[in-house]
Subunit: 172 residues, 4 copies
Amino acid sequence: MQFAIHGFHKTKISEIVKEANVTQPTFYLYFKSKEAVFQELVDVFKEKLYHHVAQSKLPADVAEEGLMERIAYGLRAVFELFQQNEEVARIGFVVSEEATTIKAEMTAQIESNLTEEARLGYFHTNVNFSVVAAAMVGAIEYLAITKLWTGSHTPDELAEEITQLFLHGLKI
Amino acid sequence: MQFAIHGFHKTKISEIVKEANVTQPTFYLYFKSKEAVFQELVDVFKEKLYHHVAQSKLPADVAEEGLMERIAYGLRAVFELFQQNEEVARIGFVVSEEATTIKAEMTAQIESNLTEEARLGYFHTNVNFSVVAAAMVGAIEYLAITKLWTGSHTPDELAEEITQLFLHGLKI
Amino acid sequence: MQFAIHGFHKTKISEIVKEANVTQPTFYLYFKSKEAVFQELVDVFKEKLYHHVAQSKLPADVAEEGLMERIAYGLRAVFELFQQNEEVARIGFVVSEEATTIKAEMTAQIESNLTEEARLGYFHTNVNFSVVAAAMVGAIEYLAITKLWTGSHTPDELAEEITQLFLHGLKI
Amino acid sequence: MQFAIHGFHKTKISEIVKEANVTQPTFYLYFKSKEAVFQELVDVFKEKLYHHVAQSKLPADVAEEGLMERIAYGLRAVFELFQQNEEVARIGFVVSEEATTIKAEMTAQIESNLTEEARLGYFHTNVNFSVVAAAMVGAIEYLAITKLWTGSHTPDELAEEITQLFLHGLKI
DNA sequence: TATGAATGAGAGTTCATTCAT
DNA sequence: AATGAATGAACTCTCATTCAT
């Protein structure tokens, strides 16, 4: 879908319909307007994303040994969502105007998760979780763009690496 | 500058010149085209950024105790560059088409730095530095947008938090 | 019928067929084109109108006392035609392009009637019957629109009032 | 002006600008939209019309002998307005959607004038002034179209004839 | 007889860009 | 150095009309 590649403004109806081998009026047979079809895509993605993030919150009884795996699991799910819905994810997370809002919402959710998880004793508390959450969201976005959607890394690999990094850091 | 706020396509020459209190033809006395002026801004930023990142590479003789501070120093410099050149940074790092390339270049530079630094023994080596570098760039971008340019955090605070996170992780 | 309400241009085939609970191609099974069906409606009305107006001419032997009633009779017939065929009358007399021609034809007929009637001694001759005829047609049209089709007045009432006005005037 | 001839929907920007020997974008240099320029014309006319009609109300002290002249005077003024502003009058009184409202307003004003004048003893009161007012407005409109704007009659002649007709009627 | 699906032609509008002065 | 006035090219969207079935 052209929107995912070019964003809203550079995407022309004429190109969309050419790709689909139909004429312009046909587009309006199926969609109310350029804006409407774009928004629909955004909404579909938003729905899915929020659902995934909400589910990635750690439960109360994760054992010390299983912690890392459990975190990686949540991240992997997000990366898989991004992989299986690349176009719609690109639109909703990167190119749409609403992407800002969507990422802000995701950040807030992650911050809330982290805070709760810290209270459960999983993490230490001398960090600003709002900053950490934003760092995670930024990292996820950019990794999706450069490592996932390029095909160079799998969701599994990325989740693994990121978990390792955010859990233990680089320091020996 | 309108470009920083609205991006290339939504920014109209008519708005630019209105803001500058001149007429449209005057614009073309000073710039070859809409595209050219935009490119000029991008180039200015690119130059500065690459310079800063290159300088943030750790030297060979940092003492154990000073490591963290030295890393924070490099990050702080980048955030300060972003703060002092918000508009041009927004354009070159976020809204321009070339932003992709610029961030890729920065990522490569950071990866190279990390690899070298690991070889110097600062970090352990069982992580994929290409992934870590991308995570850092993504984090930096999103923190700039949500924490720096909103005025909620200073370059210093952000550098501090990020260093802490990337060095030691969240785990207790 | 949509034409009567919205006129030719604002009436869409898509609306017509929706109202009739058929699809667009079905329309073209029954009518050659949008224009053709409109024209058909106009023709139907034109036929009826000319017939009525021709019949409203006063015969030669109307008694002094019956004159007013005889005139009112003709007018009433026209208003009744308009009332019983509101849609088609609206189209043929108001919204169609041909309405101009139709009203011109009606005006000419009335003028001819008046001239003849004046020669029979019913009216005085120091007025321009072409102007009077046009005034009548204009009055009839606007009264149909504002008093008849709104339901506020009956054909009878309108015929009565108009006859009184055109026969004796307002002056005491 | 094309609007006066063809009405709003059949008038194309492309025709307007062709008539003016400029290109389509030039149109938008001077007018906000097709709709806006049309509305502006309507408003200009409305203003003028209401002013004239309001002024045509008879004062309290018209002498018996001067009555007819005084009435003709008011009508003449309206026809002169129509003549001197043919295009805008056509638009505001005939082809615009608002024409309905404008004529209704004018009718109401005339009815009010007539009622008042009858109370002053100028006219007898056994007629429905609402119907008479509508008849007048309809007559005025159609006479403007067929006798004034065709050039066949002057405002003076039309005012004279109409006054005679509405004051004394056709009856000998 | 009826239609789901499609379209050619053209509407109004916007915008970066350029003359003539 | 500066501009008022204009435009080419392109855009989104609409609508009467027609296939293939």
